[in-house]
Structure formats: C-alpha cells, structure tokens
C-alpha cells in the first residue's frame, strides 16, 4: 500500500535474475553431457529450493513464536516478518517441483533410497541398510510427509495473514488470543516437523548415515538466515522512510537475534561434530570424512564465517545498531549459511564431483532475485505498520 517497489530495487531484482539466468545458461551449456550433470542440476535445485523455502519457513516460525510468547517489541516489524513468511507458498512450489522431478527420476542419485533396485533382494544393487529403513524411507510415505508439512505450514500461514489484516480492521483482543493459541499449536507441529522434514529432505541424501541432532542443526541455520533477512528487510524499508515506528532498539533486538542464533547454530554444529569425532564409529564418521576430504576449505571456512564473524563483530552494542555493520555482516552470514546447505546437500549427492561453478552461483542468484521480488511484492500489498495490535504501544516505546 504505502510501499512501492522502487526503481533501484527493480534494477537489483532484474540484475539478479538476469545475471542468474546468464550464469545458469553458461553452466547448462558447459556442463551438459557431463556424467553427473542431471544430479548436479537437481542438487542445485534442492540447495536453493530448500534454502529459500527455509527463509520463509523461519519467518513463519518466528511469527508463531512471537505470538505464542506474547512478545511485545516485534509488533511494529510484524508486517516485515509476514512479508518474508509470504514467500513460503512460492518456495514450496519450487522446492516441491524439484522433489517431484527427483521422485520421477527414481532418486536421481540424490535420494538413492528412491531407487527400487536398492530394496530388491534379487538386484545386484541391493542395499541391506536401505532396505531396513524402507518402512520410513520410501517414495509414497516421503510424499505423504512432505505434503503434510507443506499443507500444515500453509494453513497456519494463511491463518496468521488473514487474522493480521482482520485485526487492523476490527481490533480487540479476541483475534490476538486466537493468534496466541494458533501460534502455540504451530510450535507443537513445528517441533516435530522441523526435525523430521530435515531428515526427509536433507539427511536422507546420506541414506546410510543418521544423526538425531541433524534436525535442530538445520533448523538453527534456517533461523539464523531468517533473522538476517528480517534485519536487512527492516533496514531497507527504514532507509526508504517507511516503518516510522521502528527505532534503534528494534534494530538492536533483531541484531541480537542474529547474534544469538549464530551461536545456536555453532553450538549445534559443534555438538554434532564433536560427538561423532570422539566416538569415532565407522558408520557415523563417513559423513564428516566425505565432507572434510572433498570440501575441506569451504567446510571449515563456512564454520568460521558463521561462528567467528558474528561473534567477534556483532558482540558489541554499537555494532548491532550500526546499519553498515549489520548489512555487511548479514550478507556474509547469509552466504555462509548457503554454503552450509550446499555442503549438506552436495556432500552426499555429488561428493568428490561437486564444485561451485557458474551453475551453482547462477541458480542461487536467480532464486535470490525471485525471493527478493516476492517479499517486496508481498510488502506492497499490506500496510507496513499494524494499527490494532494489542502490543503496538509497547512496541512503539520499546527501549533497551
């Protein structure tokens, strides 16, 4: 409504999509015919499909969390969170399309458990471990679960969006308490789904390997990237003169969330890594052996980026209130978490054949362009500041 996509933003979006298309085209032209090309293409589909989908999902989670905990300060940035969460249906469509293609290709060497030969005792590809897991890891149950996740997320997202606009019109606390209940209910679903969906979509790429921590690890990375996106979107809208009720303290709080979730992610990274390193069991170490052998430099630099950067730079109060620091650190962390997803996925699907070329970068830029366009477009459709949120007054006077 009050916000329109500016000319600069349009140029950025077209630039990203254009560069993305060109690089993807180069990648397609040069890579076509390679042995692992289709696997590589679909691996990129999962990486970018999941990464950008997870940004929307993280925003939905944060919205539900704020409702369930009756948080006050976030009321004036609520529409930004909703705008980012609004990417969810588009993310689902893209990610779902990639998953569907992979299913029709019998796993495309990514989800090897989708290959019927793996569970056929007469085949010479027969894999006893995967056969043992086939009660859970089979295409039909996989799709049932995926559709359940998608539909639950979508139902809650629609509900929150609808009530948010309605609240502007009617006011009162009835809608607020409904949001409160729905937020808490969502968290119950999300507590289970965040783990199981990470197992289904990402962990099952390394079908022999498992880690109970994997779901939280993926979730922490997602949450951190989402907070970065929220900070940057808020700062962007603020720089255009919108969100006049957002002050330094809100920015500071969003920065704090970025800082805290970076730690959460590093903590879970380390917990998973150290336990497996210490126990040193053959079945478990394969995951890290594969990644350290083939991705040594990016794997550890990714950890340094996602841990040390936010720790050292975002620690001070002034840094969390400095727009330049927040934006530059945010971009770096965002790339770091993209690399994290990149290694999670291609470490299992391509292993030693994986490398970052123009296809990888091109597809990421393309998706980033679509993501930014969708989020900004969502923001043009609603008033940027809610008027009847019961905690709006508290949020306006937020001071830390």
């Amino acid at each position: 409504m009050e916000f329109q996509i500016t000319k600069n933003a349009k140029n950025l979006i077209y630039g990203l999509i254009g560069t993305g298309l060109v690089l993807t085209g180069i990648g397609l032209a040069t890579g076509m015919g390679d042995d692992h090309f289709s696997t590589r293409l679909l691996t990129n589909g999962i990486i970018n499909g999941f990464f950008f989908f997870s940004l929307g999902l993280g925003a939905l989670f944060f919205l539900a969390l704020s409702y369930a905990t009756e948080t006050g300060w976030y009321a004036s940035v609520k529409r930004v969170i909703e705008g980012v969460a609004g990417f969810l249906p588009y993310g689902m469509a893209i990610f779902g399309l990639v998953l569907l293609t992979i299913t029709f290709m019998h796993g495309a060497h990514i989800y090897i458990w989708m290959d019927p030969d793996m569970t056929d005792p007469t085949s010479h590809h027969y894999d006893k471990i995967i056969d043992g897991k086939s009660a859970y890891l089979n295409p039909i149950f996989f799709w049932i679960r995926t559709l359940v996740y998608f539909s639950v997320y979508l139902i809650f997202l629609r509900g929150f969006q609808k009530r948010s606009i309605e609240e502007d019109r009617i006011g009162g606390t009835e809608l607020h308490f409904k949001n409160y209940r729905k937020g808490a209910t969502f968290l119950v679903f999300f507590a289970v789904f965040s783990s199981t969906s990470a197992w289904d979509w990402l962990m099952s790429i390394d079908a022999h390997w498992f880690s109970t921590l994997f779901g939280w690890y993926t979730f922490a990375g997602m949450w951190c990237s989402t907070m970065v996106v929220l900070v940057m979107t808020t700062l962007y809208l603020k720089s255009l003169g919108h969100l006049e009720k957002v002050n330094d303290s809100h920015i500071h709080d969003l920065g704090k969330w970025t800082f805290a979730t970076s730690f959460l992610w590093s903590y879970l990274f380390f917990s998973q890594f150290m336990l497996i390193w210490y126990a040193n069991i053959g079945e478990e170490v394969t995951y890290y052996q594969m990644r350290i052998e083939n991705f040594k430099v990016i794997y550890f630099s990714m950890f340094v980026i996602n841990f040390a950067f936010p720790m050292l730079i975002l620690m001070s109060r002034d840094a969390k209130r400095n727009i330049g620091v927040l934006i530059s650190i945010g971009l770096v962390i965002l790339c770091g978490h993209w690399l994290d997803v990149y290694i999670m996925v291609s470490g299992g699907s391509l292993g030693m054949h994986a490398h970052i070329g123009s296809l990888e970068i091109g597809m990421a830029l393309l998706m980033a362009g679509i993501f930014i366009y969708t989020v900004l477009n969502n923001l043009t459709k609603v008033p940027l500041t809610p008027v009847n949120h019961p905690f709006l007054d508290e949020s306006v006077h937020h001071e830390i």
């Binding site: 380390f270 890594f273 150290m274 390193w277 210490y278 126990a279 040193n280 620690m315 001070s316 109060r317 006077h397 001071e399």
Partner: protein
C-alpha cells in the same frame, strides 16, 4: 569539604521523569535517582554514562579462555598425558575438540562471576555492605532524586528550591555531609 545534599521524593516514576527533564533543562545536575525498579529512559535524562560492564565481561571471558586453555594443556598434555578413547594425548591442538566444552564453560563462568562481582562492588552492594539509598521507602513504592549543592555551583540553595517546587514532589529532605 562540606556539602549539602537535597533528596526530593516522588510517588510516581513518570512525574519524577518529567521533573528531571525540567530540572536538567534549567541546568541542574542530578547526581542520582533511587527507585524500586529500573525507570525506562531515565539514564539519558540525568546523563548517566553508558555502562562499560560489557567490556569488562569480555575481558573476564578472555581471562577464563586463557586460563582454561593453559590449565588443560598442562593437566592433560604436559604433566600427565591422558589417554581418553585413544585420542592423541601428546598435542593440545590435535585434541583441541575435546577441550572445547570445558573452555566454553570456564569462559562463561569467569565472565558471569566477574561481571556480577564487579557490578556489586561498583554499586557497593556486596552482601553485608551498608545500604546506599537515603530512604528505605525507595525499595517499596517511592522514588527519590538526589541533588548535590557543590555539583551545581552556579545555583544557590534558594534557586534550586524554587525550581524543584515546580516538579510535583511529595517530600523534600536536606542533609549536610562532611
């Protein structure tokens, strides 16, 4: 040096805040405000400097990090190499991962305790220290502003009284200190 201190009592934090704004705008220096709970936004009004406790916490944390690293290297590698799960026990660096949890815990322990003790010490509120607030009612439902005469050399006591009278206080109390 002798000095006179004025305690002005209010029964509402917003009234005190407005009063403080009025006093400061007329050039009065307010030395301290006593309140049963933190008053949002009072710090910039009376000119309290941003706390440097965070910097101290960082330094205490660094101390903890260093002590833990040196200590564990000495205990587990140099003095008596410990063989745990067959991990390399001749080198700190190769076995570093095993030491991370303890390093982390000790860093947090030092930062938290150092910060808490520094805070209590600076505020003179360590257990057993005499109370600093002028009136026990400031721990219940009253708010007191403290103004010192020799911090306001440009104003006489009468000038101050006249300005304070406009701020809606409920009680005023003066004390000579040596």
């Amino acid at each position: 040096m002798s000095d006179k201190v004025i305690y002005v009592m209010y029964d509402d934090d917003e009234v005190l805040k407005d009063g403080a704004k009025k006093l400061v705008s007329k050039g009065v220096k307010i030395n301290e405000v006593f309140s049963p709970f933190p008053i949002h936004g009072i710090d910039p009004i009376i000119g309290v400097k941003q706390t440097r406790l965070g910097i101290m916490a960082f330094l205490y944390g660094l101390t903890g990090l260093t002590v833990a690293t040196l200590g564990m290297r000495y205990f587990m590698v140099v003095d008596w190499p410990m063989n745990i799960g067959g991990k390399p026990n001749f080198s700190y660096l190769q076995n570093m991962l095993a030491f991370v949890p303890i390093t982390f815990e000790f860093t947090v322990l030092c930062a938290a305790h150092g910060m808490a003790i520094t805070y209590l010490l600076l505020n003179k509120t360590l257990p057993g220290m005499p109370a600093q607030n002028p009136d026990p009612r400031t721990t219940d439902d009253k708010f007191v502003m403290e103004i010192r005469l020799n911090e306001n050399p440009s104003m006489s006591e009468g000038d101050l009284d006249a300005i304070i009278k406009e701020t809606g206080f409920i009680e005023i109390d003066k004390k000579d200190i040596k």
